[in-house]
């Protein structure tokens, strides 16, 4: 009696296809999360405090995604320019303060300034992390390509 071998294996084409599917599914998952958050806010009238769990998942996802992109050298930086980083920081600050104004509805200036200080610190830490990932990634790539 024949004992048929299981002949399912992953070759390079299967792996490429799997990676492509994973990328599309990741995009769909993140998009669904964004739509869900918007639905909760707009249709159900929830505040973002009601879906902290989703916000944390999205934040970690985006954080890891961007760090991976920078570390693995998807973008090629000749040099990390300080003025460009300062500009990115200012844009992040403006965006987060606008978001705070829309979502938080501050009653006093003190509340707003306190929020601005917190979001400014977080943006600075994020920018530092991204710069570190990009720098170490470039170093790693230069070392590998020598």
């Amino acid at each position: 009696m024949n004992n048929p071998k299981i002949s399912v294996f992953l070759d390079e084409r299967s792996r490429t296809t799997l990676h492509r599917i994973a990328a599309i599914m990741y995009f769909l998952t993140i998009t669904t999360l964004v739509v869900d958050i918007l639905y909760r806010q707009i249709a159900l009238g929830q505040t973002y405090r009601d879906f902290h769990d989703l916000a944390i998942i999205m934040t970690i996802n985006v954080l890891v995604y961007l760090i991976a992109i920078l570390y693995l050298g998807v973008f090629n930086f000749k040099k990390l320019h300080l003025p460009v980083m300062a500009l990115i920081y200012v844009v992040l600050l403006i965006l987060s303060s606008l978001l705070g104004l829309i979502l938080d509805r501050f009653t006093t200036l003190h509340e707003y300034l306190s929020y601005l200080f917190r979001s400014g610190s977080v943006a600075l830490i994020l920018l530092g992390l991204y710069a570190l990932a990009a720098y170490t990634g470039q170093k790693r790539l230069s070392h590998l390509s020598e």
Partner: protein, 56 residues
């Protein structure tokens, strides 16, 4: 060399379908796989993958 797709696939370590898709121009193999196919068939990359254009 008169190999079937299955035999070539086994030689280079991929699925038969992958060889078929490469032949039909529906999958771009990696350079590593191109080299393995060329070695298995005892041909050069030019022999296997170079496309002659009509206007040359």
């Amino acid at each position: 060399m008169d190999w079937s797709q299955q035999e070539l696939a086994e030689q280079v370590g991929v699925a038969r379908q992958t060889i078929g898709l490469i032949e039909n121009g529906l999958y771009n193999p990696s350079l590593d796989l191109c080299l393995r196919i060329a070695r298995a068939l005892n041909k050069t990359l030019n022999d296997l993958f170079w496309e002659e254009t009509n206007n040359e």
